[in-house]
């Protein structure tokens, strides 16, 4: 009875804390500007099903894709077991699903065990890719300190959880064989049966191990749940809404700024009355100038580095890394959110996403080639953030690189990016 009470308190605290922190991320995302992504719901559902649920963009890197699939399927399916554990915890039952499910239960537990083993192996492989093989994709200047530890913690926690799960089953399996107490014959244990011989054979030690692992496993899961809002691992939740709200237009199409259309039309036609738009700056200087979708992108990023590894600028040693653009955006909006909570809404920290986080050198290195957006397995769009920040630099500050200012004035004066007279535009027709 005390155990049930303790379980209830831990569970309630975990759910409460998780909702609170997730709510903060939601609030931070909504600090962004409006963007309408409510069109074409059918296509949006389809995109989400294909890209998030179906992992369609992972296949380009087959090794990572398979390992990730094991962990993903393992996570989703083993959650059925977590449901049973939660019911057992609340009502003091043991393996409550075993009776109603009958022989299916054995199949289910056996399946969980195999998945748990696959998850375990995948996590070990992933850890060694990061720390022993030191794959280039996981290095890079933005992958030091917290991002580096974060990735390792996630894998390490998953290994611990799976080990606890299998050890618990092994003890249970042995206790079942001993016909001890309430340990009724239930489930099949293709993996834990193999580790069972390593455990002691007296019943009281086995019960200790079984209970110990049970508590460790479920508290570990609840703790991990509460780790998510602080971690890149949050992608397991946001991948779904983020792909739902994907950009659906061709990748080459950049948005036309309505605020600019108003001004340009008024310039061309003085009788033009612009539609009301909210006042604001052109482009983005800080994270709050970006749209909520840009910010959702930032919180969805799991720092896998596929974008950076295909970026032509990054590949040739330039400072630009699309992954860093996303991480900086996330870190900045989180900072703004924290300031809001701690210092109130009038507080200014005199910092901005531009310059304090993202340098101009990074922004001007982009070729807008869309390799990053193509590579992202969850349809994040770093290019849109880069463009918005360029717009601020050019239209609000007039601080474009001098050679680009030359290009602008050529376009303005001669209708071509080079200094050629428009009268010569058809000279090509004459020579051969």
């Amino acid at each position: 009875m005390i155990a049930q009470l303790v379980f209830l308190i831990i569970l309630a605290a975990a759910v409460f804390l998780f909702s609170k922190n997730t709510g903060k991320i939601r609030r931070n995302i909504l600090l962004g500007k409006d963007a309408d992504r409510s069109d074409q719901p059918a296509l949006r559902w389809k995109t989400m099903a294909k890209v998030a649920l179906g992992q369609s963009k992972m296949g380009k890197r087959p090794v990572a894709a398979i390992m990730h699939l094991f962990i993903y399927v393992g996570f989703v399916i083993i959650n059925i077991e977590v449901l049973e554990i939660t019911i057992d915890g609340l009502f003091g039952s043991h393996r409550v699903f075993s009776r109603p499910l009958g022989s299916l239960y054995g199949l289910l537990i056996g399946g969980f065990e195999i998945l748990a083993l696959l998850v375990l192996v995948s996590c070990v492989v992933f850890l060694s890719r990061r720390n022993l093989l030191k794959l280039k994709r996981f290095q890079g200047p933005e992958m030091k300190e917290w991002p580096r530890s974060d990735a390792n913690y996630i894998l390490f926690i998953e290994i611990l959880l799976m080990t606890a799960f299998l050890t618990m089953n092994a003890a249970d399996y042995k206790l079942q064989a001993l016909h001890f107490g309430h340990y009724i014959k239930a489930g099949s244990f293709p993996v834990s049966a193999l580790i069972a011989p390593l455990l002691p054979s007296n019943a009281s030690s086995l019960v200790m191990i079984e209970r110990g692992c049970w508590w460790f496993h479920i508290i570990g899961i609840l703790a991990f749940l509460n780790y998510l809002p602080y971690s890149k691992h949050f992608h397991i939740l946001l991948a779904f809404p983020n792909t739902y709200y994907s950009k659906l237009s061709p990748k080459g199409q950049f948005s036309n700024m309505a605020s600019v259309t108003n001004e340009v039309k008024a310039m061309v036609d003085p009788s033009f009355v612009p539609a009301a738009t909210e006042p604001g700056r052109f482009g983005a200087k800080d994270a709050t100038d970006l749209t909520w979708k840009n910010l959702m992108d930032a919180y969805t990023c799991t720092e896998c580095g596929r974008c950076t590894s295909v970026c032509p600028a990054n590949n040739t040693g330039k400072l630009l890394s699309p992954r860093k653009i996303m991480m900086d955006t996330r870190d900045r909006i989180t900072e703004i959110g924290n300031n809001l909570d701690k210092q109130g809404k009038d507080f200014q920290d005199n910092k901005t996403l531009l310059d304090d986080y993202i340098s101009r050198e990074e922004l001007w290195a982009c070729t807008t080639c869309n390799a990053c957006t193509e590579a992202c397995p969850v349809n994040i769009d770093p290019l849109n953030i880069i463009t918005e920040m360029r717009r601020f630099i050019v239209m609000e500050e007039s601080q474009a690189p001098p050679s680009l200012n030359n290009m602008f004035s050529n376009v303005e004066n001669n209708g071509a990016p080079w200094k050629y007279s428009n009268a010569d535009r058809m000279n090509w027709a004459e020579s051969d």
Partner: protein, 263 residues
């Protein structure tokens, strides 16, 4: 081949005629010496198949693409509105472009501003003409047994999912087609996009066009086929810097098609 006769929209309108398709030449195609050859190849093809077309000539102006990618939305929209006014005045319905950047801008970014046209890139037109049997590869000798690789232009491939048309245009040649290790949706940019063409690259270890031409060298290509005047410039510079001018030729799909048809 008969002498090139290049009608302008203004001339045709004066005669009370309207062409079936407008050929949007683009700034590179108009002014860049190397790209002018591509422009003429496209005209040769159009004339050869007897398609009724015209160009805007001095009435054409930059689409605003480089300004937009560089963040100058004002300039882009000024250009767009001016061009749309001209295009709508001629009641243009269909446009073929010689450049993926013009193609993308006209096709995707003009409609919202009041410019609605059917826009295709010249490689798509070439594929259509081949499919319709209007273009036959009569002179197949020029490319016989040559190793050709196609370099995907970002604003054609990833930008607009046009991967097959340029490849299909090469398929009809009696040549050996090879892919570079980074191709199609994984294709590596030439380094010119996003207004990089008009500025120095940021400091780094290497120029992007060198990285790209190394892919072509690795594929042992004798001809790098391009579909974009900016890629053309970058790739040719790459070949020059690598001193491979004897081994590797960079040609536009339009030039290859024109030559294969004896034009």
């Amino acid at each position: 081949m008969n002498e090139l006769h290049i009608p302008t929209m203004a001339q045709m309108a004066a005669e009370g005629k309207a062409p079936e398709i407008l050929f949007w030449v683009g700034c590179a195609g108009s002014f860049d010496e190397r790209a002018q050859k591509i422009t003429r190849s496209i005209c040769k093809i159009l004339q050869h198949v007897g398609l009724s077309y015209a160009v805007l000539g001095t009435e054409e102006s930059c689409t605003g693409d480089p300004a937009k990618r560089a963040g100058n939305e004002f300039l882009f929209q000024m250009q767009a509105l001016t061009n749309i006014e001209v295009l709508n005045a001629y009641a243009v319905k269909k446009i073929v472009t010689g450049c993926p950047h013009c193609f993308n801008t006209l096709k995707n970014e003009y409609p919202q501003l009041g410019g609605n046209y059917e826009v295709i890139h010249h490689t798509e037109l070439i594929q259509q003409l081949i499919d319709e049997g209007k273009l036959k590869t009569e002179d197949n000798e020029s490319f016989k047994g040559k190793r050709i690789t196609y370099h995907d232009a970002c604003y054609l491939g990833r930008g607009n999912n046009v991967y097959e048309a340029p490849r299909n245009a090469l398929q009809v040649l009696d040549a050996e087609l090879v892919e570079m290790k980074r191709c199609r949706s994984n294709g590596l940019c030439c380094g010119a996009g996003g207004a990089q063409m008009f500025k120095e690259a940021e400091p780094g270890k290497k120029e992007i066009n060198i990285e790209r031409i190394e892919d072509a060298i690795e594929a042992k290509a004798q001809i790098v086929a391009s579909a974009c005047p900016f890629c053309m410039t970058m790739l040719r510079d790459g070949v020059k810097i690598k001193e491979k001018e004897q081994e590797i030729q960079v040609l536009d799909i339009a030039e290859i098609t024109a030559r294969a048809n004896g034009l």
